[in-house]
């Protein structure tokens, strides 16, 4: 079976800020060609490295984002570079790039030039703040985009600093929004016959991954604040068990939870307050309720508490490290991790797999390309010749 996007060709010129977009399209079955400078993409230099040893073919960071892409080299700054890029783009459906706004245009291969010989081309740009506006030329990292996008302010202890998300989520949200924008542009192309530009900003992508913050401000001027692990709905808070942390939840079957605690001999006013049968009142009394739950949870291990909760259909969860996912029975049963062979290293590595499953068009993960691995194939297929001088 082939992927949902089989037959689509994508040129991926992105650094780490945009690399997730091409990864998603490759997972969906598009032929994504990663275009790296002859010295290798900057991602190849980002740790961690396999077995802790640096090397262009050993960056786990690169592996994740490049898995399933083909790789060619091209020096866009070479005197023939822009022309080669335009000719490659003439044989592609999509170009995704993350250069500073205006840089490719200055080299003669901006979206208008790329589209001159291929009016059906979709050109997606992923930049810190977008292609226009007062911050157009400003810089951002993942943390800075989280800051200006509104994510950072509401995470962390009330008396501590704002806290960034685990795992470069500004880059990932921008990648998702770029992939959405590309698919929308391709579907529009079916109607109009023409390609178009997709302008994604890291900042706006973060703003598009907020929950209560903009909505409550627009509604009544409320400003969301940091309150540690107490969720803004006030139905969830982290508590401590004998051997680790657990996520308490006061949605769901409150009556069963109260019965369980009483059977354990817990005495507290919140357990005898019938008004708390109403979820809204538990929300209002959250601090009081969670303090009692914390005292009670301290007598259990995380596993005992979560198992007891699941039996009663109370949605508690263990607060786990990411590595717990590697042995998670649910993910194992569904084959989430995909073993990928790295013959050069004599290793087979479980790669994280599909973010969602399309029943008839499976997700694809494959070994990331070695530097310039597909030069001969791709230049022959797209340009009908050997790799040009600008590829070296």
């Amino acid at each position: 079976m082939s992927g949902a996007l089989a037959g689509l060709r994508v040129l991926d010129l992105c650094d780490q800020t945009g690399a997730f977009a091409g990864k998603l399209l490759a997972g969906l079955g598009a032929d994504v060609v990663l275009v790296e400078p002859p010295v290798g993409a900057p991602l190849r230099g980002i740790p961690p490295f396999f077995a802790g040893v640096p090397g262009a073919e050993r960056s786990l960071f690169f592996w994740f984002y490049a898995a399933g892409k083909r790789g060619i080299t091209l020096d866009v700054g070479h005197r023939d570079g822009p022309d080669v890029l335009c000719r490659l783009a003439a044989a592609a459906d999509v170009v995704i790039e993350s250069e500073p706004p205006g840089r490719l245009a200055a080299l003669g291969c901006g979206s208008e030039a790329l589209r001159a010989s291929n009016p059906r081309l979709v050109v997606a740009s992923i930049t810190p703040f977008g292609q226009s506006g007062p911050y157009r030329d400003w810089r951002a990292s993942d943390l800075v985009a989280q800051a200006l996008g509104g994510m950072l302010y509401v995470n962390g202890r009330p008396d501590g600093p704002p806290l960034g998300a685990l795992g470069l989520q500004a880059y990932h949200q921008a990648g998702i929004q770029a992939a959405v924008g590309v698919m929308a542009a391709l579907l529009a192309r079916d109607m109009t016959g023409r390609g178009q530009d997709v302008d994604v900003s890291l900042q706006a992508a973060v703003a598009g991954a907020l929950e209560h913050v903009p909505g409550f401000f627009h509604q009544d001027g409320r400003i969301g604040v940091r309150q540690g692990t107490l969720h803004w709905t006030r139905y969830f808070r982290v508590g401590r068990c004998r051997d680790g942390w657990v996520m308490h939840c006061t949605l769901g079957d409150w009556t069963s939870l109260v019965e369980w605690m009483k059977a354990d001999g817990i005495v507290a006013d919140v357990l005898d307050d019938p008004s708390l049968d109403e979820p809204k009142n538990r929300q209002a009394a959250a601090e009081r309720v969670f303090d009692v739950l914390d005292d009670w949870a301290a007598r259990y291990t995380v596993a005992e508490l979560v198992e007891g909760a699941q039996l009663r259909r109370i949605p508690y969860a263990a607060v786990r490290a990411p590595e717990a996912l590697l042995d998670d029975p649910q993910l194992a049963e569904r084959g989430f991790f995909v073993p990928i062979e790295h013959p050069d290293l004599g290793a087979t590595v479980p790669y994280p797999g599909a973010p969602f499953r399309l029943g008839d068009t499976p997700w694809r993960v494959a070994r990331p390309p070695r530097l310039g691995e597909h030069n001969a194939d791709v230049y022959r297929e797209l340009l009908g010749g050997p790799p040009p001088g600008a590829s070296r």
């Binding site: 037959g7 951002a140 590595e323």
Partner: protein, 391 residues
């Protein structure tokens, strides 16, 4: 103006957050999204604007009692004329209603059926109930969002619902693309657990190969190591500036801008990372007396990545960049109010996505949908209302 999903109809059984995030993207792109709702809906205040409005923007609302055979029949008739059917109930709900993929296919052979669940349609945990915070706990976000040596302090909201919802929209668009080429629909099985796990790629590959233990990184860089990197207090109450200095060139520009003499012991990245705590104290001494806005403008002029930590007001009322992009939309309501809503975060140059309207009131479009799409007469609709089948 043309939008990419003009002519696409989505029958939307989703509720709360993750599912509505998926379908709001489809609505922005021009799809006719029909929300099937219960008489009692779980809203976050105003349905026109605010959080609920942002989740429901541009959709139509129909209240149906799916426990009544007549209500279920109406839902099936709507499914038969829809391109996409989507829900985010736990796995067995749609099957119990006879609205699972196998049943829907008999009504509409090329249907795209999207099932968004916590854990997926298969596997030992398939019937477990989940919420955003519990999924974030299971996948590592909660534990690792902490200052070094401090307890978990992370995610004050359900990021996983937004991440899963945004990925869900990509799944729908890919399935529609495939259907246009082959004529075939399919089942989309989106497990939120997997969606959020897939966003931890480098960390998971690291642990899979080194067998190590993840520790909280605070606000340290999670790509190339570097320092200073973090969030620094500025003048005023709860004002902060995020700063990222990675390369030696950036450090030179940064130090020069602050008027520091370039000390040799900080010249190399490794040395700065080693002395990160000391650098943080020095940077803090500089930021503490300055407005975040001023420090940001000064450093950005020198090409340093930095940004104030925007609260809701900074984001929605003061940010000139989001305003210039038209990120927030103002739309009129049938009652003559104007509400402000989030818009799509990506811009399309020729067929732009845009907010099609405010959120619908509960059941607002019942008559419109039943008469316009199913051809029901006034009398038939009235008797369904009297019987409580339609809200």
């Amino acid at each position: 103006m043309t939008r990419p999903l003009d002519g696409v109809r989505v029958l939307d059984f989703t509720w709360v957050v993750a599912g509505p995030v998926t379908t709001r993207i489809l609505a922005d792109l021009g799809a006719d999204v029909i929300k099937i709702e219960r008489r009692v809906s779980l809203d976050f205040g105003d349905r026109r604007g605010g959080l609920s409005g942002s989740l429901m923007r541009g959709k139509r609302s129909l209240v149906l009692d799916l426990n009544d055979p007549r209500g279920l029949d109406l839902a099936r008739r709507l499914a038969a004329i829809s391109d996409v059917v989507i829900d985010n109930f736990s796995a067995r709900v749609m099957a119990n209603l006879g609205l699972d993929y196998e049943s829907l296919r008999t009504l509409r052979p090329d249907i795209v059926c999207v099932r968004m669940t916590g854990f997926g349609l298969t596997g030992p945990d398939r019937d477990h109930v989940s919420y955003g915070p519990t999924l974030q706990a299971l996948t590592g976000y909660t534990l690792l969002m902490a200052e070094p040596g401090e307890p978990p302090a992370g995610f004050g909201y359900s990021y996983s619902d937004l991440a899963g919802g945004n990925l869900g929209a990509l799944a729908v668009l890919a399935a529609l693309w495939h259907r246009r080429r082959t004529g075939r629909g399919q089942l989309v099985d989106l497990a939120q657990l997997e969606a959020v796990a897939s966003l931890l790629g480098p960390t998971l590959l690291a642990r899979a190969t080194d067998g190590g233990v993840s520790v909280p990184a605070g606000n340290a860089s999670q790509e190339m190591p570097g320092a200073p990197h973090g969030v620094y207090p500025c003048a005023g109450d709860d004002r902060w500036l995020a700063i990222t200095v990675l390369s030696d060139d950036e450090w030179k520009r940064f130090a020069t801008t602050l008027g520091w003499s370039p000390e040799r012991r900080f010249a190399r990245r490794e040395d700065r990372v080693e002395h990160a705590d000391e650098l943080d104290r020095m940077v803090t001494a500089w930021t503490r007396g300055r407005l975040a806005e001023d420090a940001m403008a000064l450093l950005q002029r020198a090409g340093i990545a930095c940004g104030l930590v925007a609260n809701a007001e900074d984001l929605c009322a003061r940010d000139p960049q989001l305003a210039a992009r038209g990120h927030f939309a103002e739309v009129g309501t049938p009652e003559g109010r104007t509400v402000r809503l989030d818009g799509p975060p990506y811009l399309l140059s020729e067929t732009p996505a845009h907010v099609g309207g405010p959120g619908p009131l509960l059941g607002e479009h019942g008559d419109q949908v039943l008469a316009g799409l199913l051809g029901l007469g006034e009398e038939a609709i009235r008797s369904l209302r009297v019987a409580g089948v339609v809200g």
